[in-house]
Assembly symmetry: C2
Homo-oligomer: 166 residues x 2
């Protein structure tokens, strides 16, 4: 019932986490942004034209071959500060509690964030992009080419968001 | 140099995997599709209007609260049969080897697939969707609301794909 950043707010519901994990991840790089504290981050990546840098670890740098020809990328990254046990949550900027799978909050069973970014350029293992909203130093999980044919749904509607009071 | 499904083809490059993992995942459900073998799966989800079912585990079913109001969802799932050490690869249906981060192949350091699906309906913990292309029984990692404002980039171009010979 507290309003602490990592506590539980009124109306939120936590479940018991499974007693073991099912699969594991490698961090493949780091994301460099100007934001050092959660409250400094933009609410979403398109609120900002800030250029951020994705640094891919040397081990994986050859995997960037061909990426320069992409105008947009899907970036997956790991929100390591988020609790994982909430099924119903009340983000600070919304009035009503909602399910974790109906929200883009980092709080979810697997705190994998997905952002669509515009690629400005690549130098060696460093990508300059716009469209990110995460903390400086965030761990990179994956980069994928964005295909408009399968990934763009400009007609998509999130009903609860369109109708929300705040 | 073999052409076996899980082997290495000519021009492909593998790296040594890190000696430990950095983070871990819970499987939060299963995806039910009509496809039992990799060769039966459509090449991408929009090639098919097949209705698939996402079954969320009971533990997480409250996290679906509010999802019914979304027309489209981002679905993350785990491609557990894919090798993780290739940085340059030659998918069977393309001529040229390319970097793993320039491809949507399941073969990548973290075999997390991302698909944008259209939501047809929800009954209890089961979602009916179109837009998936994965094997029956694939492990579910996450469901997110698709926001056209941040996720739709209809102008996006994948240069290598547009200019490819095959």
């Amino acid at each position: 019932m507290s309003d602490e950043p990592y506590g539980i707010r009124e109306g939120e519901i936590a479940v018991t986490l499974p007693d073991k994990f099912d699969a594991s991840l490698y961090f493949v790089g780091r994301i460099r942004t100007p934001w050092q504290r959660r409250q400094d981050c933009p609410k979403n990546g398109r609120e900002s034209d800030t250029v951020c840098t994705i640094e891919v670890d040397a081990r994986w740098s050859q995997a960037l071959t061909g990426v320069a020809s992409c105008s947009h990328l899907v970036v997956l990254y790991w929100m390591d500060q988020a609790r994982r046990d909430l099924v119903i949550q009340s983000p600070r900027h919304y009035n009503e509690p909602r399910g974790s799978f109906a929200l883009r909050s980092p709080v979810r069973p697997n705190p994998i964030a997905m952002s669509v970014v515009r690629l400005l350029g690549i130098e060696g293992n460093k990508l300059s992009v716009t469209g990110l909203d995460c903390l400086d130093g965030t761990a990179l999980l994956d980069i994928k080419p964005y295909f408009a044919s399968t990934d763009a749904a400009p007609e998509a509607v999130v009903g609860w968001h369109r109708e929300r009071k705040s």
